[in-house]
């Protein structure tokens, strides 16, 4: 993975690692919302919502959009919608889990072999 891409992915994962931020992102991903609208749906103050949105925006997950006098946030599809990025992360996790499973099976087989030899 290119260093810049790895950094961007790490920022996104870190941003979504906070449960409240994940909820904020989930709401925004369904429909564009203002800070007040997000705050109305979660037990979080407006300044706290603003702070979470800033982190999500910095991570390339949401974008601020101004229509007339109305500010609202919508998903940043260019930032998030890179399926290749996602597949990259998917294999990182997949191979880490594959390693755990392969090593577990190898240990079990080795132990079974030893028991067989003892008999």
């Amino acid at each position: 993975m290119k260093a810049a891409l790895a950094q961007a992915s790490a920022r996104r994962f870190a941003a979504l690692g906070d449960p409240t931020r994940l909820q904020v992102f989930a709401l925004i991903s369904r429909a564009p919302l203002s800070v007040a609208e997000v705050a109305a749906q979660l037990p979080v103050s407006r300044p706290a919502v603003s702070q979470h949105l800033k982190v999500l925006a910095d991570a390339g997950l949401v974008q601020l959009e101004t229509i007339g006098t109305r500010n609202h946030y919508r998903p940043d599809t260019d930032g998030v919608a890179s399926l290749r990025d996602f597949i990259d992360s998917l294999w990182d996790v997949g191979l880490a889990r594959f390693k755990l499973q392969a090593e577990k099976v190898a240990r079990e087989r080795a132990a079974a072999q030893q028991r067989k030899e003892k008999r």
Binding site: L16, L83, A102, V105, A106
Partner: protein, 163 residues
């Protein structure tokens, strides 16, 4: 270790398992390690992910109710050294015959108890061919919410692995 280009994802991992075990776990026990077992393709809960052990074989998911959903097919089967699969899942992780990406996995014995696995997921530009459709897929509630859940789960799995 991993490198990525615009069209390809490349990964390597070394596991403390004999070559035959590594190959078997990768191909015959996918459901034991695939990160998205709970975000399966089909409607039913996933009972198994099956790779038919021959070139031209199917690669599919079997639900607990016996229903089957394709993931792609087998391009090359050379147990226990190499398997090449055609991955045909679209942006919403649904089977799409028009999407043709390749997952090429090579297994190399470092010694009797250690195996290196080199994986390349190629032809990812198959996803870029129709950018407006991709955008629409991502913007649809199904696509977005699906991706969100995937992201959340991957993030959670990574965090748990690091803890």
């Amino acid at each position: 270790m991993s490198t990525t280009t615009d069209r390809m994802v490349r990964k390597s991992v070394t596991v403390a398992a004999p070559l035959a075990v590594a190959f078997e776990v990768f191909t015959a026990q996918i459901e034991a390690w695939w990160p998205m077992a709970s975000h399966h393709i089909g409607q039913a809960d996933c009972a198994a992910v099956v790779i038919e052990p021959q070139a031209g074989g199917r690669w599919f998911e079997r639900g607990v109710d016996g229903s089957e959903c394709d993931w792609g097919r087998v391009l090359l089967w050379d147990a226990p050294n190499r398997v090449m699969l055609m991955w045909q899942l679209n942006a919403q992780f649904q089977f799409d015959r028009s999407i043709e990406t390749e997952v090429d996995v090579c297994f190399t014995a470092i010694d009797a108890r250690t195996t290196r696995v080199d994986l390349e997921h190629r032809c990812l530009d198959a996803y870029g061919a129709d950018a407006p459709a991709m955008r629409e897929a991502f913007n649809s509630p199904n696509g977005w919410n699906g991706m969100l859940e995937h992201f959340a789960q991957v993030a959670g799995t990574l965090a748990a692995a690091r803890a």
